[in-house]
């Protein structure tokens, strides 16, 4: 069973953003399944790196859309992105050096952050984009 089952509740009403969110959910599910299966050949660090890279790309997409419509809450939203990148960077750094959070803890952090961010900030952004005619 996937860690996060994609459903309409996560849709923000903008196709491009939804697609990217589904990719992020897919990466997290892959990581979770490999951990559950205790797959020794699975390169978790590579997948985490992929997750971080794709997240940065996705944030870029969102911030570009915000600029396009002159989004009023852009500063707060971008600050959330920056805080996330900073925190994940620290956690991954600690993990690589063998101290700090476990892989499972990192996964739960990523899951909770992504869901909260989609359900709140991204949904607000989705409403604003829809109002501006972006779907």
């Amino acid at each position: 069973m996937p860690m996060i089952a994609w459903s309409n509740q996560f849709s923000v009403g903008v196709q491009e953003v939804d697609k990217q969110h589904q990719v992020l959910v897919g990466i997290l599910n892959r990581l979770s399944s490999a951990l559950d299966a205790q797959d020794k050949d699975f390169d978790s660090h590579k997948v985490i790196d992929e997750m971080v890279q794709y997240t940065v790309y996705h944030f870029g997409t969102e911030e570009h859309l915000m600029t396009q419509i002159g989004y009023a809450a852009k500063a707060q939203h971008v600050a959330e992105h920056q805080a996330f990148v900073h925190q994940v960077g620290e956690m991954v750094g600690q993990l690589t050096q063998g101290h700090g959070p476990s892989l499972e803890e990192l996964l739960i952090f990523l899951r909770d952050w992504l869901i909260s961010h989609i359900l709140h900030s991204d949904r607000d952004l989705g409403d604003a984009l829809n109002l501006a005619g972006v779907r």
């Binding site: 860690m3 089952a5 707060q76």
Partner: protein, 450 residues
Amino acid sequence: MPDAHPDHDMTAQSPAQHLYTGTTPAIRANPYLAQSMWQDWSEGAIHSAQDIYDTSGAMLWAKSQALDAELISRLVERDLRQPIELCVIAQDPVKEAELVDILQQLCASSPALDAAINPHRKAVIEVLQGLTLTPQELLLISLLRQRKREYLAHSVAVTAIALTIAVELELDRRLLFALAHAGLLHDVGRLYLPPEPAADEKESAYYQHPMVSALAAVELGKMTPEVGHLIACSHERLDGSGFPRQLQEDQIPPRARILLFAEAICRALLNPSLGLLRASVSARLVAREFDGHMTNWIGAIARSEQNQNPDRPMPVQASTIGRRLRQLHAQLGRAVVLLSLTIGESLTAREAAALWLQKKIAPLQYALRASGVEDALALGLHLEPEGAIEAAELEALLAEILHRLAHFARYVDWQRTEDEFLSSSTMARELLKILQSCASILHKESPSCP
């Protein structure tokens, strides 16, 4: 778990087993009401207004005699020809004039209530003085007073607040009387439910009482169906989150909106440690829960009171409020994530339950977002109020959300005893843990979350 869970009718799942409804062939006195007539009152306080017969034609008690313990015990065992409430009168009932005295005493001890009704005090008192209560109505509210003085005080306060709003909204004077009867009787259903319910019955009794009150008012208090409808709606909410029927805005008539609003803010207005600010915050906390005219009305009174005391001291340290808000934000975030993980595309019973729980939690999280704590966290800042007024508002917001979460936790706990799915659900158990942990936020001094 029943498919209809998210919108189920609470009256249907646990009917008031002992309430006389006027439609049952066997009419026995409700045991809790009978208990009130005897145990809560001194001997001789209730007299028979007519001869009392059972259905076989045997006379149980003659007219104008004081009721005694022996008769009371017979009343609950025998089928009566007429409901007992129609056969007896209180010797020393609450009188109409006393209602005004009670209101004035309440205003003297509750400055917030005093301030709220002050603009229309004269009109409110005129309505109370002009009320004519039926003998059964007098009996029921007298029994309510005997059960607990606070019950009648609450009913009088709700009536006065509702009348104040009605006058403010320029309702036809004729219509005020129906509102007054409904306000006074809206809690008489408590008389028909266990006075000290066991822990597992407590929530059930609470959720039944509006409907039981409505039935008692109409069938025994001789009130019109309209008054009954006002009472039945006294705990509904315009966004569909109330009880017992979870009515939607278009199913709740305008006057019922007044009564339910008065009921909702009464607790804060009567309690000097809560007051106008808390009433105003609770009215505005969830969008579309109440009528906008009424939330604006209480908001304006609260603002005016704040402006009169701009130099109030900071209620607690700004950093403490900020920390508590962050803690609450983290806990609610956990609850929302937990519920989101359960909801999928196909609406199974499990998902329907999660969706229903999320519907209750989400408005509280939106309310918390309005405090600015989330933005502050996103910017890497700590939310700390700048002035005493802002601090008091944030403190009231925090306290109201925690109050509602505690109430919701009790409700979920109760639902777990009623509902097959929730009783075995790990998700429900985890959610309860989160909700219950919120209760300690106001008392916990060491920060436990980011």
